[in-house]
């Protein structure tokens, strides 16, 4: 599974980004460990410096730490991820099925923040008639990790469609409210992100005392930071 995953990734790498994502997903299933180049160790007390022993060994010039970091950042998948992020998906961040546009900030090397706005549509069926409704949302996506990340998505938007059956007639309306999702994301070296998340959604507006206010929301999305 693991070897096959790598082989697939290698074979398809030249066929374009989308297929590269598929290959990455296979790798994720195979739980391939992220290969990192070893970072030169700091000298410790157990490793006495040359001048303390008196031996005239050629001193190795160790680059300063900040230079190491720059080198790390230049490695594929670890370079600065700041930029506009375009995402397509299904879930409350998209008002149904749709797109979102955000800007991703690299707060730290491990923590990324991405405020965004999203819009899309959802199919609504009432009284044997189906129609498409638009939806919108705004949110903040926080991701923690390198390639495998934990994501926290806090959204305010059109969370659900409320139904009220009155004399057999189904009345519908959009409801709005906050949603908090937690989930997993995988980020490729080219800043493609595939993520899935689950969490509670609260129907706040319009307020209906006799409707359930809480529901479980799910989200699937694929995006890229440019």
């Amino acid at each position: 599974m693991f070897v096959g995953g790598r082989a697939l990734a290698s074979a398809l790498r030249y066929n374009g980004e989308v297929i590269w994502i598929v290959a990455c997903a296979v790798l994720a299933v195979g739980e391939e460990p992220i290969t990192q180049e070893p970072i030169a160790e700091e000298p410790t007390a157990e490793q006495p410096l040359a001048d303390e022993t008196g031996a005239e060994e050629p001193r190795v010039e160790e680059p300063p730490r900040f230079e190491l970091r720059e080198m790390e950042n230049q490695r594929p998948g670890l370079r600065d991820e700041s930029g506009f992020t375009l995402t397509v998906g299904v879930g409350p961040a998209f008002g149904g099925i749709g797109v979102s546009l955000g800007y991703t900030f690299e707060a730290t090397q491990l923590v990324h923040l991405s405020p965004y706005v999203g819009g899309g549509f959802i199919g609504v069926e009432a009284n044997d008639e189906a129609e498409l409704w638009g939806g919108a949302a705004a949110g903040l996506l926080t991701s923690v990790g390198r390639r495998h990340r934990v994501v926290l998505d806090v959204i305010f938007g059109s969370t659900a469609v409320q139904y009220l059956r009155f004399h057999g007639y189904e009345m519908t309306r959009r409801s709005w409210g906050p949603t908090a999702l937690i989930g997993y994301a995988f980020v490729t070296k080219n800043h493609f992100m595939v993520r899935g998340a689950l969490g509670p959604s609260f129907i706040a507006l319009p307020y209906s005392p006799e409707h359930d206010h809480w529901s479980l929301a799910a989200q699937l999305a694929v995006g890229k930071t440019f």
């Binding site: 009284n127 009220l164 009155f166 004399h167 057999g168 007639y169 009345m171 309306r173 706040a204 507006l205 319009p206 307020y207 209906s208 005392p209 006799e210 409707h211």
Partner: protein
């Protein structure tokens, strides 16, 4: 810190002030709360009806106990006649009909005792449904206090007129129950008219399949068609206009359904005057809701063109022969078309002018109505 109040305002913006809230309708506090909510919607009628929660068995038993043997005999005789044309089922007893009626009733108001009776079927009495049902009955209590129920129940000569009058009393109660429902659910009433149109259409549709149409019309028509009728009046002039309707109640279901009274009434041709061998057991007008539902049930086309009807039930002197004669005035030129469909369906039907005359008997042979009828008269006589 400044954002917190703003967010709270945003959150509460949809809450608004609610007039109604679900509560246990057995408690005095809940009854008072619902009454106060209704007063703000309707008017300031001071009411304090007593409230009883009783089992269906108790209510049915009371109702049956209040009937007399003569009423049971009359019911059986009339039911036999009505069954001849499929308006009821043969052999239905008055007791069974009482049970059938209460099967579909959640609560009722009695103006004679000024009491609301909620039928206990083991359901919770503290939810949205009971609160709305109770609100509906509170409207009847207000109508009773204002003398409107008395106005609606006087001078009722036909089944049709009774249905038309009940369309106002039940329509008003259903209308305010609906407004309470919108308030309770926190939902705008901008689709209420659509909901009522759907209610009317679905009620008319399901009426076609009613085996006991003649009886169940009273628990179908007034609510669905009355609510839409009252809403139209209320939109024009509010509650004062609704109250004013009781001084000029619609006299036919044709008027309630079509919005205007029919122009081509049977008048003096409604009820058959039989020969001396027969007595009249039923002289009635059933009206648009019943006659059109019956017509649709026969799979006829053009039922909307029936403008008026007169039903005569005859019983022979020895009581063995029952005859039903149903005269329907049809908007020209569709009488011929309906006649052909009715004959194809096996009905014994004649055409006189623009009127169809259906005849059915329990003698097993086709009866020529002209041998039974010596003339016609108005159903107001």
């Amino acid at each position: 810190m400044k954002r917190a109040p703003a967010f709270a305002l945003l959150f509460l913006a949809g809450c608004g002030d609610r007039l109604f809230a679900p509560c246990d309708i057995r408690t005095a506090r809940c009854q008072e709360s619902l009454t106060n909510g209704l007063r703000q919607l309707r008017n300031e009628s001071a009411i304090a009806p007593s409230v009883m929660v009783r089992s269906e068995e108790e209510v049915v038993a009371d109702s049956i106990d209040s009937t007399t043997p003569a009423e049971r005999e009359s019911f059986a005789r009339q039911n036999t006649i009505l069954s001849l044309l499929g308006l009821s089922q043969p052999g239905l007893s008055l007791d069974a009909q009482v049970q059938n009626r209460f099967d579909r009733v959640a609560a009722f108001y009695s103006s004679s005792t000024d009491a609301i009776t909620v039928i206990d079927r083991g359901q919770a009495l503290d939810g949205v449904g009971p609160a709305l049902t109770f609100t509906h009955e509170l409207v009847h209590a207000m109508q009773g206090a204002e003398g409107l129920l008395a106005l609606a129940s006087q001078d009722v000569d036909t089944t049709d007129e009774g249905l038309a009058h009940r369309a106002i009393t039940e329509g008003e109660a259903t209308f305010y129950e609906d407004l309470a429902g919108f308030d309770l659910f926190g939902w705008d009433d901008d689709e209420h008219e659509k909901a009522l149109a759907y209610y009317r259409d679905s009620t008319a549709y399901y009426a076609v399949f009613e085996d006991l149409l003649i009886y169940n019309a009273s628990i179908l028509f007034p609510y669905a068609f009355g609510a839409a009728y009252v809403r139209r009046i209320w939109e024009q002039g509010g509650q004062p206009a609704v109250v004013a309707t009781y001084d000029a109640l619609p006299s036919t279901t044709f008027g309630v359904i079509d919005g205007e009274e029919p122009s081509a009434l049977l008048g003096a041709d409604a009820i058959a005057v039989p020969t001396a061998d027969y007595t009249v057991a039923i002289a009635d007008r059933f009206g648009a809701f019943i006659v059109r539902a019956w017509c649709s049930r026969q799979d006829f086309i053009g039922c909307e063109d029936i403008q008026d009807d007169g039903f005569t039930g005859l019983v022979s002197a020895d009581g063995t022969s029952s005859i039903a004669i149903w005269r329907m005035r049809v908007r020209p030129p569709n009488a011929d078309f309906l006649l052909q469909r009715a004959r194809d369906a096996g009905f014994n039907v004649s055409l006189v002018g623009d009127d169809l005359i259906f005849v059915a008997s329990n003698t097993g042979s086709r009866v020529d109505y002209t041998t039974l009828v010596t003339g016609w008269r108005s159903n107001d006589d």
